[in-house]
């Protein structure tokens, strides 16, 4: 590759300052975060009574939001690890997008779980009194592990790029330069360093796969280890994981489209990428559909008494509108769109991805709440408000604030670091030319 071409790639991929749109976007996200924070402060002072959760619905949208975050974070392992290990090269420009989604989502998963706690001030009890047989403790362990592995998988491939950015001092400001210097000045691009980093990335890619499977399996076990109809299922681990890959891949398609149009990256994130991601999305949606059939239709065939109420509520009752909305948004429509070649063009693929993400959020809500409204013994001797659940403004504000926070991390990351790996792109083009 000639030097001028290299130069061009670098210049096109260096992080750019926020334009007007970018500033408005950040402003909106910040406002949402602040509203969420205010709601949380209210919750801290008054207690969880500010939520609509009560003794029957003891887990509400905080927990479904948590499951959603854990789910979407799984994509980091799918794109970085699975595709890397299978030597799929087309996904290189997408790895960093996937990894930052993973890191920001898993960060907010941890935050939202603390928000859900009645006594966040006693969080340390998990460490001094933690008991290994509780699935919550497993979750704490695997989520922490996943967070650090993801962070490293984000950081190591970033090192050569930091080196490049340090060379382009005039393109950054003082603070960022200091940050790059702090993070990456030891990197000298020597053969030894490159070899070491490659080895490290390979090891991490192998380890992250079982850890990724664990985070979501263990999260499903928070439900599956109980007796309740709708949760008491041996299908849950696989069902959750397939759903997680689906929503994660959907999230990546959405992010791809946004970055591509906003930063004018058509050369790097090509139509071909959307085509391939679209196919992956169809496959994952079909897989998730398969597990859904298992999850709902087999109990519905038997209609055991405790299951019956729950399933009727979902199919035709109180929750039917959300249920059919979620199922068609997360699976039916995206499959219909993406099955066609035209549907895998960037814009329709983006729309399908967005549908998947939105549908999946509601799907998580349906996994958590309706079950709690169908206990074994009838709801009795409680005030009327205990028999229903509709989140209060505080819950919405906190849930939306956490989603905004995750987007904010991604946005700032793209402002500070190149969202498409520069060095890897150059190396790959070179290899391509040689071949």
């Amino acid at each position: 590759m000639e030097n001028s071409a290299k130069q061009k790639v670098i210049e096109e991929l260096l992080p750019q300052k926020f334009g007007k749109q970018g500033k408005i976007w950040v402003g909106i996200l910040l406002t949402l975060c602040i509203i969420g924070l205010i709601a949380y402060i209210r919750q801290l002072s008054k207690g969880l009574v500010v939520t609509a959760m009560r003794d029957y619905v003891s887990w509400g949208i905080y927990i479904s939001n948590f499951v959603f975050f854990v789910a979407i974070s799984l994509v980091g392992s799918l794109i970085t690890a699975v595709l890397r290990l299978t030597d799929v090269h087309w996904s290189t420009p997408l790895t960093r997008i996937a990894e930052i989604i993973a890191v920001s989502a898993i960060t907010f998963a941890s935050i939202i779980i603390i928000v859900d706690m009645g006594r966040p001030d006693r969080f340390y009890n998990l460490f001094i009194h933690g008991r290994l047989q509780s699935p919550i403790v497993w979750d704490v362990i695997v989520i922490t592990t996943y967070f650090f592995i993801s962070l490293l998988l984000l950081y190591f491939p970033l090192l050569p790029d930091l080196q490049i950015m340090l060379r382009y001092k005039e393109k950054t400001n003082k603070w960022l330069y200091k940050l790059y210097h702090y993070l990456g000045s030891f990197w000298k691009n020597t053969a030894g360093q490159i070899k070491m980093s490659e080895r490290a990335i390979n090891i991490l890619s192998v380890t992250i796969i079982p850890v990724a499977f664990s985070i979501h399996t263990v999260t499903s076990w928070l439900f599956a280890t109980t007796y309740r109809p709708g949760w008491d299922s041996t299908n849950f681990g696989a069902y959750f994981i397939s759903g997680a890959f689906l929503v994660g891949a959907g999230g990546v398609v959405v992010a791809m489209y946004v970055f591509r149009t906003h930063y004018k990256l058509e050369k790097y994130i090509t139509d071909g990428h959307f085509d391939k991601m679209g196919k992956i999305l169809v496959m994952l949606a079909l897989l998730y559909l398969y597990f859904n059939v298992n999850e709902y239709l087999i109990p519905a065939f038997k209609m055991k008494k405790p299951e019956e109420e729950h399933l009727r509520g979902l199919f035709t009752g109180e929750f039917a509108p959300i249920f059919w909305f979620a199922v068609s948004m997360a699976m039916f429509f995206p499959i219909l769109i993406l099955l066609f070649k035209k549907g895998r063009k960037p814009l329709p693929a983006f729309i399908a991805g967005l549908m998947v993400v939105i549908g999946s959020w509601f799907k998580r809500y349906l996994i958590v709440t309706p079950t709690l409204l169908h206990p074994f013994l009838p709801m009795q001797d409680v005030p009327d408000s205990y028999r229903h659940y509709f989140p209060t403004w505080e819950e919405w504000a906190i849930a939306v604030g956490s989603l905004a926070g995750a987007l904010l991390i991604i946005t700032f990351f793209a402002r500070i670091f190149p969202i498409i790996p520069i060095q890897e792109t150059i190396t790959e083009t070179e290899q391509h030319e040689k071949a």
């Binding site: 008054k46 207690g47 969880l48 009574v49 939520t51 959760m53 009560r54 003794d55 029957y56 003891s58 887990w59 859900d116 706690m117 009645g118 006594r119 966040p120 006693r122 969080f123 009890n125 998990l126 009194h129 933690g130 008991r131 047989q133 509780s134 699935p135 919550i136 403790v137 704490v140 928070l222 439900f223 280890t225 109980t226 007796y227 309740r228 709690l372 206990p375 074994f376 013994l377 009838p378 709801m379 009795q380 001797d381 409680v382 005030p383």
Partner: protein, 309 residues
């Protein structure tokens, strides 16, 4: 009820001299010598028992009030009463949903208004089967799902079969509520309105479950504090129809206050059973079927609701 309430708050006179009472869950030491030094003898003497078993006389003015203390330490409360295995038998043929059990329990444990640890369900298992009243409390399962899932050992199973909650340790994750199939656990979504400021600062005792704290979970505790004093749980004592019989499986006796039964005979003769046996939770609460009833089933609440609509 009122009476035992005041006795709870009563001063523990003897503790000044004997100091035998262990310090409870609280971190505050109630035995510090911060009594005013310039106490003048009142001349009025009180007889007390010293540590060595001698009767001694002390001037009343030297006695110092101490706050209500848990009768056992947290460590002891986690072990339980040695040699016991507590059981409850609930006789459905005697229940007419008076809910005296419920109000006594709510009152004594200062349960937040609207919430209940004892619930009385109008049950009808199928369309053509007969309706009956079914009081439920915590089943004190021998394989308690709630204990299995608790991440911090805040809810625990004791040697004597009782499942208790340490509100000073609970992190409020509510996993136990999701795990309990009997929906018996309630959560303090806010500071319970029934807990006075005075009570709120007292040391929490796992055995009396008082005071309930914001952001933690609560449920029926089988009243081990009453058992230690040789008394019956509040619900048992409050029921005028003798629905609840409480006792020790090892002694094979249960009593509702006025009548005492041999537990094994009672369960055999009246075909006792437990709830949701198929789940394998092994409850410590047994039910006697609603046959030869003392009262006809009459659902006043339902009637009132029907009239309204």
């Amino acid at each position: 009820m009122e009476q035992s309430n005041t006795s709870r708050r009563d001063f523990l006179l003897t503790s000044l001299l004997t100091g035998m009472t262990a310090i409870g869950c609280s971190t505050k030491d109630p035995f510090t010598a911060d009594a005013p030094v310039d106490v003048k003898p009142s001349g009025e003497k009180v007889k007390l028992l010293s540590v060595d078993g001698e009767v001694i006389e002390v001037d009343k003015a030297f006695l110092k009030p101490v706050p209500q203390l848990p009768s056992v330490s947290n460590a002891e409360a986690r072990v339980g009463i040695p040699g016991k295995k507590f059981v409850m038998v609930i006789d459905l043929s005697r229940c007419k949903s008076l809910k005296k059990c419920q109000s006594a329990c709510d009152h004594m444990h200062h349960v937040h208004s609207g919430q209940n640890w004892v619930k009385v369900y109008p049950m009808q298992d199928a369309e053509h089967t007969s309706p009956y009243w079914q009081p439920t409390i915590c089943m004190h399962c021998d394989e308690p799902p709630c204990v299995k899932v608790c991440p911090v050992d805040a809810t625990f199973k004791r040697e004597d079969g009782i499942v208790l909650i340490d509100s000073d340790r609970c992190i409020g994750c509510r996993f136990c509520m999701a795990a309990c199939p009997y929906s018996t656990r309630v959560f303090n979504w806010e500071s319970p309105d029934t807990v006075s400021e005075e009570l709120a600062v007292q040391p929490y005792s796992c055995e009396s479950s008082v005071p309930q704290k914001k952001g933690t979970v609560g449920k029926c505790d089988f009243c081990p504090d009453m058992t230690r004093q040789g008394e019956l749980p509040h619900c048992v004592a409050a029921c005028p129809n003798g629905v609840f019989a409480f006792g020790d499986m090892n002694e094979d006796t249960v009593t509702n206050g006025s009548e005492t039964f041999r537990f094994s005979d009672l369960i055999r003769d009246k075909a006792g059973y437990r709830l949701m046996e198929d789940l394998g939770t092994k409850p410590s609460v047994y039910y006697l079927p609603p046959v030869n009833r003392n009262f006809p089933f009459e659902n006043k609440e339902q009637k009132a609701e029907d009239k309204k609509s």
